[in-house]
C-alpha cells in the first residue's frame, strides 16, 4: 500500500532472454520492437515487465485496490514481498514500491492496494486517474523484501499491522488461509478510524473459517462497536492482553517507522522479529556530515562527506569512476542512483527519485545513497 524504506531496488544488470529471443537478440533493437509491439497490445514488450490494470475497486475511504495482470517478463513475488511500480507523471517516470496483497492467481494476476496520501503524486495517480485497461511498468528490479514465510512455517505467529502496513501481511494471511492455516496466527491491525480499514469482511470470514486465526481491529480515533474491535495504541499491556504467549510467536510488524520501532522493543522475547517500515521523509543531511554510500555493483559501502561532489569524494576514497569533463556536460560519469537523495550542485535542486543518470561530477549526496556502480 505504501512505499517501503529498507529494502532497496535490486540491480538488474541485463534483461534475461531465453530460447528464440536469445538468438534474435543481436539483431533486435528493443526500442523499435517495443514501439510496434505496443501498437498491437500495450502490455507487450521485448524485455520489460508491464502489467495491465484488469479491475479496480474502492477498498476503504481512501484506498483503492488495483488488480494487475503482468506480461511474461514479470518474475513474480513471494507473499509479503514488495514490487516496484513505475508510472509516468508529467513526462517523468516515477517509481514507488507496493506490496501485493494476495497470492498470484492462476492467470498470474495479483492485487495491490494503494492508499491515497494527501499530496502524494503517485498514489493520487493510482487512486484517482488509473482506469481498467491502463498499463503500468513493474520494476526496475524484481520483487524484494524479507517479510515472507520461512521454508518451515513457524508454529505460532503474531502479525502487527498499522495503516498501510496491512498490505504485505494481508498477502501472508491469504497465503496461510489457502494453506489451511498451518500456523496459529493472531493479527492485530491498527487504523485511526474504522472507514480507513481495508479487508475487514474478508479477515472476519477467514477468522470464522479457521479457528487458529484471530483478528483484532484496533482503533485510535473511533470507539469500538464489534467484539473484535478495541481501542488503544501499541504498548506492552495491550500486547500482553491480545497475545499472552508472545514469547512463543514469530512476530512480523509493518507500519510507520515509529510503530515498527515500538513493536521491535516490545517483542524482544519473541523467537524471531521481522519489521518493515514505510519510507519516512528521507533524512536530508546538511553539507558537512557524512553519508553512507553503497556501490551496489562493486559491492562496496563507503562513508563520504555529504557536501562534496560525489566524483571527487569517491576519488578521495581511492576509487576511479569513469569521468570526462568534470563539469556536467559529457555524461561520462553518469550512473544509476537506486535510492537516496542527491543534490544537483549546479541548480541546488534535491532529487529523491531513483535516477538512471546521476552525474557524479555535479551531484552531492544528501542522504545515504545506493549507486549502480
Amino acid at each position: 500500500m505504501s512505499a517501503v524504506l529498507r529494502p532497496l531496488i535490486p540491480v538488474d544488470p541485463t534483461p534475461r532472454a531465453s530460447g528464440w529471443r536469445r538468438w534474435l537478440a543481436p539483431v533486435v533493437s528493443p526500442p523499435v520492437v517495443d514501439f510496434w509491439l505496443r501498437k498491437l497490445n500495450p502490455v507487450l514488450s521485448w524485455d520489460r515487465p508491464l502489467a495491465r490494470v484488469v479491475a479496480r475497486s474502492q477498498e476503504s475511504r481512501d484506498a483503492v485496490t488495483l488488480v494487475l495482470k503482468p506480461n511474461r517478463h514479470f518474475r513474480g513475488y513471494v507473499p509479503g514481498q514488495h514490487v516496484n511500480l513505475t508510472a509516468e507523471l508529467d513526462g517523468v517516470r516515477v517509481t514507488r514500491s507496493y506490496s501485493p496483497t494476495d497470492v498470484r492467481q492462476a492467470d498470474g494476476a495479483f492485487s495491490i492496494t494503494v492508499k491515497h496520501i494527501p499530496g502524494g503524486r503517485v498514489s493520487g495517480l493510482l487512486c484517482e486517474r488509473t482506469q481498467v485497461g491502463d498499463v503500468l511498468e513493474l520494476g526496475p528490479g524484481d520483487a524484494f523484501g524479507e517479510m515472507h514465510l520461512p521454508r518451515e512455517v513457524p508454529e505460532k505467529m503474531l502479525l502487527l499491522a498499522a495503516g498501510s502496513g496491512i498490505t504485505p501481511l494481508m498477502s501472508l494471511v491469504r497465503q496461510l488461509s489457502a494453506l489451511g492455516m498451518p500456523a496459529d496466527t493472531t493479527l492485530l491491525y491498527w487504523t485511526r478510524q474504522r472507514d480507513e480499514r481495508c479487508f475487514t469482511a474478508e479477515l472476519r470470514a477467514i477468522a470464522a473459517r479457521h479457528p487458529h486465526f484471530r483478528v483484532r481491529f484496533l482503533l485510535t480515533r473511533d470507539a469500538p462497536q464489534k467484539p473484535d474491535e478495541a481501542v488503544g495504541r501499541i504498548d506492552s499491556a495491550l500486547l500482553l492482553r491480545k497475545a499472552p504467549d508472545l514469547a512463543k510467536r514469530t512476530v512480523f510488524a509493518c507500519g510507520p517507522a515509529g510503530f515498527v520501532r515500538a513493536a521491535r522493543e516490545l517483542a524482544t522475547d519473541a523467537p524471531r522479529f521481522c519489521g518493515e517500515a514505510f519510507t519516512p521523509a528521507a533524512m536530508v543531511q546538511g553539507d558537512g556530515g557524512t553519508v553512507r554510500v553503497e556501490l551496489r555493483r562493486s559491492r562496496k559501502t563507503l562513508e563520504l562527506a555529504s557536501g562534496m561532489p560525489l566524483l571527487a569524494a569517491l576519488e578521495a576514497e581511492g576509487l576511479q569512476p569513469l569521468y570526462g569533463c568534470r563539469r556536467g556536460i559529457c555524461q561520462t560519469c553518469a550512473c544509476g542512483k537506486l535510492a537516496g537523495v542527491s543534490r544537483n550542485l549546479d541548480t541546488g535542486e534535491l532529487q529523491a527519485e531513483p535516477e538512471q543518470a546521476l552525474r557524479l561530477c555535479v551531484s552531492s549526496a544528501r542522504s545515504d545513497l545506493v549507486l549502480d556502480i
Binding site: 543481436p26 513526462g91 517516470r93 570526462g324
Partner: protein, 382 residues
C-alpha cells in the same frame, strides 16, 4: 595582396569584445540562470515532443522500406513504378536523418534523461548509423563538447583531414582537400565511425596495429550489423528484385551522410568561428567555457523544418552552451542568448544555410593553400 580571411576575421575581432574576469563570471552566471530556468520547466510537453519524433522516425522508416520493397517488385514488371523507389529512398533517408539528428544525437546527450525512460536514455541509446554510440559518447560528448575548437584536443577540427583554420599547419597534400571534403561528405557516417581509431597514429607508428585491431572490434561489430541490415536483409526480402532495394538503401544513407556533414560543418567552420590554443582550457572557469562555446559555434537561420531536420543543430550556439537541454527548447531561448551576447559585446554568429555553407566551402578552398593567422580578439581582457 589582400587576404580575404584576414579581412573577415578582423571584422570578427571587432565584433567580439574581450571580457574582464568579473564580466566573464557575470556572463557565466547569466547563462547558468537561463539554463536552470529552462531545466525547471521541462515536463509533459517535452516528453510528448520526443515521443512524436520517435513516432515520425518509426513510421517514415516503415513507409520508406515498404515503398522500396513494393516498388522494387513492381519495377521488375513495370518500369514506370520508379517513382515509388525514389519516394521510398527519400523517406528512408528522411527517417535516418530524423533518427540520427533529432532523436539519437539529442538523446545521447542525456537531454531526455530526466524522463527516466530506458528507451530514451543517454547512456544506453544505440543509433541507426555505422559508428557505435559508445565511441560517439567519447569523441563527441566528451572531447568535442568539452574542448570545443581547441587545437590538438578537439578532433572535430577538420576531422584530422581538412585544414579549416589558418592555425592548422599547412602541408602540400592539403591542396587537394576540397576533394577529400567531398568524399568525407558522401561517406560521413564512416568518417564518424572510424574517427576514434585515429588511423594516422598507426601509420606514424605511435600505436601498434594490434592495438588498432582491438579498438576496431566493437566498431566492426556495429558496422557489420548495419551493413547486414541495409545491404543484405532488407534487399533479400524483395527476392530477385533485391537490386533496386539495395540501391535505394545506398541512396538513403548517402542523403543522410551529405545532410549531416553539411549541418555539422556549418556549426563550427563558418567565417567568424574561432579556434583556441591548448592553454585556454587550463583551470578554465565556467564563464570562460561558455564564451569559448559561443565563439566556436555558428547557427543557421531558417524554417521550423530546417531546425527539426538538423536536430536543432541550426542552433549550434545554444546546443554548445546547453548540450543537455532538450533541443526543441533552443529556438525558444535563442532571443535571450542573443540579448546576453549583445550586452557583453559578443557576436552571435548566424546566417542562412546557403550563406553559412558557402563560407564553409570558402574556408576549405582558401586554407588548402598556405594562409596566415589573422588578428584575433582574446577571450579575456589582459
Amino acid at each position: 595582396m589582400t587576404d580575404p580571411t584576414k579581412c573577415t576575421d578582423m571584422k570578427a575581432a571587432l565584433h567580439n569584445r574581450p571580457l574582464s574576469p568579473a564580466e566573464l563570471e557575470q556572463f557565466g552566471s547569466e547563462l547558468d540562470a537561463l539554463r536552470a530556468r529552462v531545466a525547471s520547466e521541462l515536463g509533459a510537453e517535452d516528453a510528448r515532443y520526443i515521443r512524436n519524433v520517435v513516432k515520425a522516425v518509426r513510421y517514415s522508416e516503415v513507409a520508406g522500406r515498404g515503398l522500396l520493397w513494393g516498388g522494387a517488385i513492381a519495377f521488375g514488371f513495370w518500369t514506370l513504378a520508379w517513382p515509388a523507389l525514389v519516394l521510398g529512398a527519400l523517406l528512408l533517408g528522411l527517417s535516418k536523418i530524423l533518427e540520427n539528428m533529432e532523436l539519437g544525437h539529442n538523446v545521447m546527450h542525456g537531454q531526455y534523461d530526466w524522463m527516466r525512460d530506458p528507451h530514451l536514455h543517454g547512456k544506453t541509446y544505440e543509433w541507426d548509423i555505422a559508428g557505435t554510440s559508445d565511441s560517439w559518447r567519447r569523441t563527441h560528448n566528451f572531447k568535442h563538447h568539452t574542448y570545443t575548437n581547441v587545437r590538438g584536443m578537439d578532433d572535430d577540427i577538420g576531422y584530422g583531414l581538412l585544414r579549416i583554420f589558418p592555425e592548422q599547419r599547412w602541408k602540400p597534400w592539403r591542396i587537394f582537400q576540397p576533394l577529400y571534403a567531398a568524399v568525407l561528405g558522401l561517406y560521413f557516417q564512416w568518417g564518424v565511425a572510424i574517427q576514434e581509431l585515429e588511423l594516422g597514429l598507426a601509420f606514424m607508428g605511435r600505436k601498434t596495429w594490434r592495438e588498432l585491431w582491438e579498438e576496431f572490434k566493437p566498431m566492426g561489430r556495429k558496422a557489420g550489423r548495419q551493413l547486414l541490415k541495409d545491404y543484405l536483409v532488407f534487399p533479400l526480402l524483395a527476392g530477385p528484385f533485391f537490386l533496386p532495394v539495395l540501391i535505394g538503401n545506398l541512396v538513403a544513407n548517402g542523403i543522410r551522410n551529405l545532410w549531416t556533414f553539411s549541418i555539422i560543418f556549418c556549426g563550427h567552420f563558418t567565417d567568424k568561428v574561432e579556434v583556441f590554443p591548448r592553454n585556454s582550457v587550463i583551470n578554465e572557469s565556467r564563464g570562460h567555457w561558455y564564451l569559448r562555446q559561443l565563439r566556436g559555434s555558428s547557427n543557421l537561420s531558417g524554417s521550423k523544418a530546417l531546425h527539426i531536420l538538423s536536430g536543432h543543430l541550426s542552433h549550434q550556439i545554444e546546443h554548445h552552451l546547453f548540450p543537455d537541454l532538450p533541443a526543441r527548447r533552443y529556438p525558444q531561448i535563442a532571443p535571450e542568448v542573443q540579448a546576453i551576447c549583445k550586452r557583453y559585446g559578443q557576436h552571435y554568429n548566424t546566417g542562412s544555410f546557403v550563406r553559412q555553407f558557402g563560407q564553409v566551402w570558402g574556408r576549405i578552398f582558401r586554407h588548402a593553400f598556405p594562409s596566415r593567422v589573422p588578428l584575433r580578439s582574446p577571450l579575456v581582457a589582459a
